[in-house]
């Protein structure tokens, strides 16, 4: 494989791996890397292999771009899906990310469960409720024992008030989880993987 085709192959793999970006963003990035390679090769002592080694595998380079974009979108987005995707990406890099992803998952799952319970109440008024009894205090959906025929002495206490209560708690869970995860992204941004780097040569201050 000639140097030119080797470089083109690298750039094609980079282009293909830059998913989730617009065509113009991808082309801009690929063009910048192409010019970097050309600039470095203008030094006669520099080989294409060493330049590509310095850039790292095309997939990893693209992943750094994608992670930066994903985290940035998550910081400005209200979509739980965008935030969960960014948290999941963080989770693959270490224990801190895993904890953040777990918090996000629990927070969003809690919110969704409360909203579902509120939605189910009009269709299953006897089953959805806040059930109270000895050693029991739970928002849930009960099959069998119902509001009109609970397992004594367990009984439902909210009635139709369950809907607004669950809507408020569910919405608050979603909003607070989003705010918390966005705060953690900003707070620990410098730990996120887009700054991860491999030293290209031994140096005291290599990053």
């Amino acid at each position: 494989m000639t140097s030119e085709s080797q470089a083109n192959d690298y750039l094609a793999r980079l282009h293909a791996a830059l998913t989730g970006m617009t065509v113009s963003e991808r082309e801009d990035i690929v063009e910048e890397i192409r010019m970097h390679i050309r600039e470095r090769l203008s030094d006669p002592q520099c080989s294409l292999d060493s330049v590509l080694a310095g850039l790292g595998p095309a997939d990893e380079l693209a992943q750094q771009y994608r992670t930066g974009l994903l985290v940035q979108r998550a910081q400005n987005s209200r979509s739980p899906f965008v935030i969960l995707r960014a948290a999941l990406r963080w989770a693959t890099t270490g224990i801190e990310g895993f904890i953040v992803f777990t918090i996000a998952l629990i927070g969003y799952a809690t919110g969704v469960c409360f909203l579902l319970l509120a939605l189910m109440k009009p269709f299953f008024p006897a089953n959805a409720g806040l059930w109270v009894g000895p050693d029991q205090f739970a928002f849930n959906f009960r099959m069998g024992a119902t509001m009109t025929n609970p397992n004594p002495p367990v009984h439902e206490v909210l009635g139709w008030w369950l809907i607004p209560v669950c809507l408020v708690i569910g919405s608050l869970s979603l909003v607070l989880t989003t705010k918390l995860i966005q705060f953690l992204f900003r707070r620990f941004r410098w730990k996120l993987p887009f700054a991860a780097a491999t030293p290209t040569r031994p140096a005291m201050m290599a990053l």
Binding site: D28, E32, G54, L55, G56, Y65, G68, W190, F194, T198
Partner: protein, 131 residues
């Protein structure tokens, strides 16, 4: 009697704490390199190496610059260069200048305060070195 410490392998190789500390100041270093005017990616790498001994993998600088650009801290422009091919130059925006100024102030205060604390550590360590 002063306590002596055996050489630790952690001193000889950068540990996780050190890597995270450097990673934390990377954004400031890149923004500061653009303080005097526009530079392209490879120039930024050379300035960082020359002025601060920070050696980055070449593939690291471009995703960082891309993020700083989308954050509005730098802006980029393609310029036809004498080298025969265009170069993508980066320059600080107003928000970028304000950000790096605040970072520099914080860094200076932080390092001065910490310097007072760690000076005796290094002084005593030097005194313990065999002559």
């Amino acid at each position: 009697m002063a306590q002596t410490f055996p050489p630790s392998p952690e001193i000889e190789s950068p540990d996780k704490w050190e890597a995270q500390m450097r990673k934390g100041c990377l954004e400031m270093a890149v923004l500061a390199s653009l303080w005097h005017g526009r530079l392209y990616g490879l120039e930024i790498l050379r300035v960082l190496e020359r002025d601060s001994s920070l050696v980055l993998a070449e593939g690291t600088i471009y995703p960082i610059l891309n993020r700083l650009r989308t954050d509005g801290l730098v802006q980029s422009q393609w310029v036809e260069a004498e080298a025969g091919h265009p170069r993508k130059y980066y320059l600080l925006t107003l928000a970028g200048r304000e950000r790096v100024t605040r970072m520099a102030e914080t860094w200076t205060q932080f390092s001065a305060g910490l310097g007072n604390l760690i000076d005796p550590v290094l002084r005593d360590r030097n005194m313990e070195q065999p002559k």
